[in-house]
């Protein structure tokens, strides 16, 4: 280990980064762009469902029933229909997501305790949204039906009736169930992994392409010194990017860090070290920037997006795929990040994840030094 030598390489690397708009853009602009895109565009909350209603009854009761849908922000009454034939057109063009049909004699039958059938026609082309919408319709209808039942008992002279179970959910950690709280940590994982791996790989492969790597190989610089000199500047840049993402998501989406900043920094540092070492490893197997780019995109971006638990839950994955997800460092970092940012729990709660990240970093670092040594000789 030779400090000044590593310093020389770092200074050179920072100079090159500062003169290369593409690298700077990749490290700072792309992350913010992704954040804005995902933050605003991906919204897993199903609210303001476009509702069309065909009220064949047109009584006070049917209007009451309809009102119970509109009390919440989940439904917007966009269309009031006259004929059943209008429904298909609205669903086909996507102007309405749910169409409710309230049958004739709804009020009278309900008052007499007769069974009433409400028809809800749902656009199922997006399964998730449709399932959520059906759930809301059922909940609202069940609530209405319960109240109607109690009322009819009271009319029959039975007083003092109460519903037996009073269901009152209390949601921990993310009480408003806002998907931004859930998505932003995933986004941080994705962005850091991509920029850290890609930028180191490209910076090394570029030197191979231009022949400067050979010039370093004939000098007394050791592989370990080269790795440190080349990765630490990108580590710093990635940390700056991470801080920028956190600041922006707080400003725009109100996402805060509930847990300890120290834990957050420590976990991020371990994760980034592993990513950078992995980037070095990839650079030893690619000879051109194109190959390096493809490899890093294929091995980091896609699996992290799909398999880290960012959007798709692990419990829905088939066994083999789920087993594969255990190999991804993003999986552990994301779990730790959600624990710190959303749950605000202490270090003990995610120590397993930290251990997994340390193992990944050590493996990637060790392998890349080995590969570099073998290449140098």
């Amino acid at each position: 280990m030779n400090g000044p030598r590593i310093g020389t390489i770092m200074i050179k690397e920072l100079r090159q980064i500062s003169r290369d708009p593409a690298t700077l853009g990749m490290l700072l602009v792309v992350p913010l762009f992704l954040l804005l895109m995902f933050g605003f565009a991906i919204n897993l909350d199903t609210k303001h469902i476009r509702l069309a209603v065909l009220d064949l009854d047109r009584t006070q009761d049917s209007r009451d029933f309809l009102q119970s849908f509109l009390h919440s922000e989940y439904f917007d009454l966009d269309f009031v229909l006259d004929r059943e034939s209008q429904i298909d057109g609205l669903l086909d063009t996507g102007r309405a997501l749910v169409a409710l049909v309230i049958p004739r004699d709804f009020g009278r039958d309900a008052a007499n305790g007769k069974k009433v059938e409400i028809q809800a026609i749902v656009d199922g082309s997006n399964g998730t949204t449709a399932a959520t919408a059906i759930g809301y319709v059922q909940a609202v209808a069940a609530d209405y039906s319960q109240r109607a039942f109690v009322r009819s008992l009271e009319r029959a002279g039975v007083t003092g009736m109460k519903t037996t179970i009073d269901f009152e959910p209390r949601v921990l950690f993310n009480p408003e169930l806002r998907s931004a709280n859930f998505l932003i940590p995933g986004l941080i994982v994705l962005i850091l992994m991509m920029t850290a791996v890609l930028s180191t790989t490209l910076s090394i492969v570029r030197e191979k392409e231009r022949g400067t790597m050979e010039q370093i190989a004939v000098s007394p610089v050791q592989p370990f010194e080269l790795i440190l000199g080349k990765t630490v500047p990108y580590l710093v840049m990635s940390l700056v990017a991470a801080a920028a993402i956190l600041a922006t998501s707080r400003l725009l989406f109100g996402v805060t860090v509930r847990g300890s900043w120290l834990d957050l920094g420590l976990v991020t540092l371990i994760f980034l070290f592993g990513c950078l070492a992995f980037g070095v490893l990839l650079s030893t197997i690619s000879d051109s920037q194109q190959v390096a780019f493809l490899l890093s995109a294929l091995l980091t971006l896609l699996p992290t997006f799909i398999l880290s638990g960012f959007v798709f839950p692990f419990r829905n994955m088939p066994g083999v795929i789920r087993a594969f997800s255990y190999l991804l460092p993003g999986r552990y970092y994301l779990a730790a990040l959600r624990a710190i940012m959303v749950k605000g729990v202490g270090f003990w709660a995610f120590s397993d994840q930290v251990l997994a990240l340390v193992i990944f970093a050590a493996a990637a670092g060790g392998l890349s030094v080995l590969r570099l040594r073998r290449q140098a000789r």
């Binding site: 400067t212 000098s219 007394p220």
Partner: protein
């Protein structure tokens, strides 16, 4: 300036700067360098000559520690390349045809980087920066980005960067490839200057005119050494007869005609002329009359001093025959 600071040349009486013994490099089944042995006297300009793929660069890359030899040993600046590569690396400089400088750094930033990588102190870097800039003829352009320099300047700057730590031995792998004749000439002036200062220079080239500048030559072909010695000695030893230059209308047709003449040892095309090697001067008559008979009247002819190219062609042909 003395060449024996920092790492420096091996002390006088230490023996050769480089000694290679049966160096061999295989890539799978392909033998790139086949049991090559030679010695490079300290302070000489030593040329490795051969066509592309002859094994020159592979040999140099093994001596610099960029490639591990499959078998054989070599001592560079007194250290074994396999056992003590770090000691070797501190004492050698290396420059390849690719001018390995950072295009997005300025002239002085490149110098600072390579100085730092070789562990020079700030004072040493500052001192040598001025000298290197001056030698490359780049005074006043220290803050220019390297990518804005033309080939010749880059090449001289690259050489300067490779010499910053004052190595006793400098390896130049096809240093003049792709540069204009004037830059090549200037570059060789610098090489000569370095040799006079006591640096051992090992240079690969396929320009045969450049080989004439070398004190010692090794001719390589298909991974093997086919001849070695000074340019003068090679010409004397290899070309025993005489070489005549002959001008006729269709040199390609002329060459095939002359190949049928038993007295002609060898024929080669040099631009629009033919070089004809003969054992005895009298045999020229037979060669000329064969050309006349084939309808290729000779417009001019004369005896010439054989060039290294003649030597080279003779050796490669001989080598091919020996193998066949």
């Amino acid at each position: 300036m003395s060449a024996s600071t920092a790492g420096g040349a091996p002390p006088a009486g230490f023996g050769p700067a480089i000694r290679a013994e049966k160096l061999t490099k295989r890539f799978g089944a392909f033998v790139a360098v086949d049991s090559v042995s030679f010695e490079v006297p300290a302070g000489s300009i030593f040329g490795l000559l051969g066509a592309n793929g002859a094994g020159k660069s592979t040999t140099i890359r093994m001596l610099c520690g960029l490639l591990a030899p499959t078998s054989g040993t070599a001592t560079v600046a007194g250290s074994d390349i396999a056992r003590n590569p770090e000691a070797v690396k501190r004492r050698i400089g290396y420059m390849s045809q690719r001018f390995s400088l950072y295009n997005d750094l300025t002239v002085e930033e490149n110098i600072r980087f390579f100085g730092g990588v070789y562990g020079l102190s700030d004072r040493e870097i500052e001192e040598r920066r001025r000298e290197t800039v001056h030698r490359a003829g780049l005074d006043g352009r220290e803050k220019t980005l390297t990518r804005e320099l033309s080939g010749g300047w880059k090449q001289r700057l690259a050489l300067g960067c490779a010499m910053l730590h004052r190595p006793g031995i400098i390896f130049l792998d096809e240093p003049t490839g792709g540069t204009d004749p004037i830059s090549r000439r200037l570059f060789w002036d610098v090489i000569n200057q370095m040799a006079q200062d006591g640096t051992t220079v090992i240079v690969t080239t396929h320009y045969l005119d450049e080989a004439e500048y070398c004190n010692e030559l090794v001719l390589m072909h298909a991974g093997r050494i086919v001849a070695q010695g000074s340019p003068g000695a090679l010409k004397r030893e290899v070309i025993t007869g005489s070489v005549f230059e002959v001008e006729c209308p269709d040199p390609v047709a002329g060459m095939s005609v002359l190949r049928g003449v038993p007295q002609v040892r060898e024929t080669a095309i040099f631009a629009t002329r033919l070089h004809v090697s003969l054992d005895r001067d009298e045999d020229l008559v037979a060669a000329l009359s064969a050309l006349e008979a084939a309808g290729l009247p000779v417009s001019a002819h004369g005896r010439i001093v054989p060039s290294l190219e003649d030597v080279f062609i003779r050796l490669i042909d001989r080598n091919g025959e020996a193998k066949a």
